[in-house]
Symmetry: C2
Subunit: 114 residues, 2 copies
């Protein structure tokens, strides 16, 4: 990477970093991940009840997105009525320490006066 004279000015790490922050930066994603992290597998309405302020549509889309990103799994229990459990994949669980640090950082630097 050093001194090959290429004309791009961008860091090679920019894209992986953006892929990660693009997920965490969606309005509800970090909250959903944190909720699943702390409150275990949850059904659709249980999540909704814990999130407060989220609409069906937005929750549904966010869960879809997290599923596609490979952070969440949707487990359909064929029952009557149907039950669906959402939980974290290993990739999702590996986010835990990062989320904790983000929280700590937020409390240290973002909490008051701004």
């Amino acid at each position: 990477m050093t001194g090959h004279g290429g004309p791009t000015g961008a860091h090679a790490e920019s894209e992986p970093l953006r892929r990660a922050t693009a997920i965490l930066g969606k309005k509800w994603h970090p909250v959903l991940l944190y909720t699943l992290l702390t409150d275990g597998p949850l059904g659709f309405n249980d999540m909704k009840g814990r999130i407060d302020g989220i609409s069906d549509k937005v929750l549904s889309e966010a869960l879809d997105d997290l599923q596609e990103a490979g952070l969440v799994v949707r487990d359909v229990v064929e029952d009557k009525p149907v039950r669906v459990n959402y939980s974290l994949t290993p990739a999702g669980r590996d986010l835990e320490p990062i989320i904790e640090e983000l929280l700590e950082w937020s409390h240290e630097h973002l909490t008051e006066s701004r």
Copy 2:
């Protein structure tokens, strides 16, 4: 947090978490922070050259935003022509380990096949 019977269903940590991820989730912010972290203080055009694909306007707005969030400082050197150096505040520098972990996590779980 345990058993106070409040009717809100939301986690108390949701807001601080969102404040943090709202910053990191802006398209260019993490890249700008990483660039300042690795390539020290930089002038406007030096940043632009390293970012590749960013327009003047977007860079300018992003730097403003990071400055308001208290992560970046703008240091004007009265010269002719004027020089402006952008660098990280302590709050910005404290983000380094988190960014590194995010990068690691991205390489482990997001890099291929998706």
